[in-house]
Subunit: 232 residues, 4 copies
């Protein structure tokens, strides 16, 4: 995939996140590793997710420095750079502040497979609480990556969530589904005592629903939907 | 009613469900029995409910095989095929993942007639928990049909809901009303201890409100509303 | 005010209610007494609140019979006719199914002046529970009127709310504010133990905020807002 | 900054508040001190926040009297005039009725830094409960100012919130963030027992996120967003 194609996909990721629960004014960022380079594409500061177009996208290196692009780098670039260093399998990182995931993370409870979406993160959603402040150094970024381990994402206590994937599609969709799972679990917990899928069924459901071909169908759908909601 | 008319109605059912609480990206499906055939119409995979138009609709037989149509079959076709086998009175099946019904189902509590809508399912809303995974075989579909018995619908634990009806109109409206009833009960339970209609009054209310002529008026209204919200 | 002007105002009342929390597909109705006649204007059946235009409005007499108009009468006309008989000061009745008021009514708790809006109904919001079924006879309508007494409205358990006023403006606005008060109280009760204004302050606030001139300003605003949201 | 520029900014503040959680029909008001004058600009009565344009803005003096402008003064002008007298550092006052802040204020609980936004008001959000009625005299306005002390805002029990700032930008954004913090805390409290940032981290986060340059970026974004949502 060319860098131009990646930029377009990254812009759609932002546009999709804006309308699927991850809007937080100009905050939150998505990045994508550039194949064959020690660098990654990233959403710049000062724009809302819905405003991002391919020409906004900047390029940063694994030290977290901006090396190309017209717009300002988010100060939390180190979440991305350190995860790319620690996780060669990861090609996209979504960091955002979805409100239900934040409320849920403050409860220090495990995310349960109460709905389909919960199976993605069942038993593998660490809670990062080394700090609740911004991740503005490579040292703190490394702490996030260490907490993430081999998981698909983590909650950052009193801050937000970070979700990773092999592709922009995967990380974007998993981020959306994490917020939905948190929303459903919160509403169940507010009303009573929820029950959930067994570990075995959760594993089976994950394989049934969230494999590559289906994620491709879902991504295509969300792109169509984002185009219909476009601010242009 | 001709197959073309049924296809149009089925497309409206999908469009209506998309804006009345049953949206879940490309997931969820509606089917309608073809009169005089051992086959049924069905929403295909890979499209959102709001995107469905009559030409998308596919045809499946009672073994769950696609026999006509250009688009991909949902793997859970067996929910539909087995219900049609077991319930000759059913001509439409709506399977979807409405978030409040999912949260509510995880609580293993009876749905109560707290609002008008609750009377539709009072004392006849089984909770299917044989599996919380996908229904991808005729055996599992038969288990769903067995749990459904003669009722108007069921909750599928940690999965969603399935609602049936004599007509597309009836099943679609009942599905909408199930989600609304779950939403209202959850909000009442979060704040305190709700009370509800007696069994006798619930029965009376069901007869007063949800008879065929009124469902026709309601359906016509929802079609007008879906047309106004159309993505075209 | 001419009957034509009243019809226009009644149509706006419906349009406003549709977007301020009282939407329930084709259910719910508003009526307005015709000055100098033993009759009243009323929203007809089969239309959503947002669809009503002056030509839809029908005329019923105090026996609940339709005496003019092209469209179908709601079967619960007796809520209106009996209140008009019992309450000469009332010129408008709003009956609807706002979801938070229904959830709240099921809890059998007093509505508290937690927000401004709560002061309108503090200590004067009866809970009608003689039946939770439809009000389809003059006898049942009389029971509602009896429960209402001299108050501004009541909750109908497991059904909805009925709010009255000297004018269409007043009843419509009070109905909107009742639902908002219920929504805020439910969210406070879900999270903890709310406190509220003293009786003395609630009385003072009611006089400060909800007097005739201010209701006029509010009504004018809601009409502008409804026009902007018009489906035409 | 010229008075015309201030009027434009004040109109945008109103438009932004309308779509970011502070809508309450025609209620709520924003004011801005006129540099070098004993007077301030203020949103007039009878309009919704989204309707305000620069020509609506009126001018009041520190006695709370309207001295210029075509439209009616809000009776609670004294919240503004007395804060301007007591707090020379304050150049903008936002008073409104955001529903989550009202529900939250009724619980008499401290606002916690559960999300980023909470750090703005951690340990400095007084609860004004001298009265829950309107602030219609300079004496009551002085009580509000006294309760506010040197803080960034306060909750007014069973009424709303008042947030202040050095600039229109700052007060507007802080008002939005207060409501968001209350919403997230309420949802966490409804589901369990939230935890939050330490005082030290809350202080650090405030310095990291909410400094002048970032508030400028956020404001510019919200202006673009309000323009896209404009009713014109």
């Amino acid at each position: 995939m060319s860098v131009d194609e990646l930029k377009e996909k990254l812009a759609y990721s932002c546009n999709i996140l804006a309308i699927e629960g991850h809007w937080d004014q100009i905050l939150g960022h998505v990045s994508a590793r550039i194949p064959g380079e020690q660098a990654f594409l990233m959403k710049p500061h000062s724009f809302g997710f819905e405003e991002i177009r391919p020409y906004h996208v900047i390029v940063c290196n694994l030290e977290g420095e901006k090396i190309r692009g017209d717009y300002e780098r988010h100060s939390e670039v180190f979440i991305h750079s350190e995860i790319y260093k620690a996780r060669p399998d990861v090609n996209c990182v979504v960091h955002s502040h979805p409100p239900y995931a934040i409320a849920f993370g403050s409860l220090r409870q495990p995310l349960r497979p109460i709905s389909h979406e919960g199976v993605i993160f069942h038993d593998n959603l660490p809670l990062f609480d080394y700090t609740t402040a911004l991740i503005r150094t490579s040292e703190l970024g490394a702490k996030v990556a260490e907490c993430l381990k081999n998981n698909r994402g983590l909650l950052m206590k009193n801050h937000g969530s970070t979700v990773v994937g092999e592709s922009i599609e995967q990380a974007t969709l998993y981020a959306i589904f994490l917020e939905k799972a948190a929303r459903i679990q919160l509403s169940a917990m507010a009303a009573g005592e929820p029950t959930w899928s067994s570990d075995e069924e959760a594993k089976l459901k994950f394989e049934q629903i969230y494999h590559a071909r289906r994620l491709g169908n879902m991504w295509d759908y969300f792109v169509r939907r984002a185009k219909r909601a476009s601010i242009d």
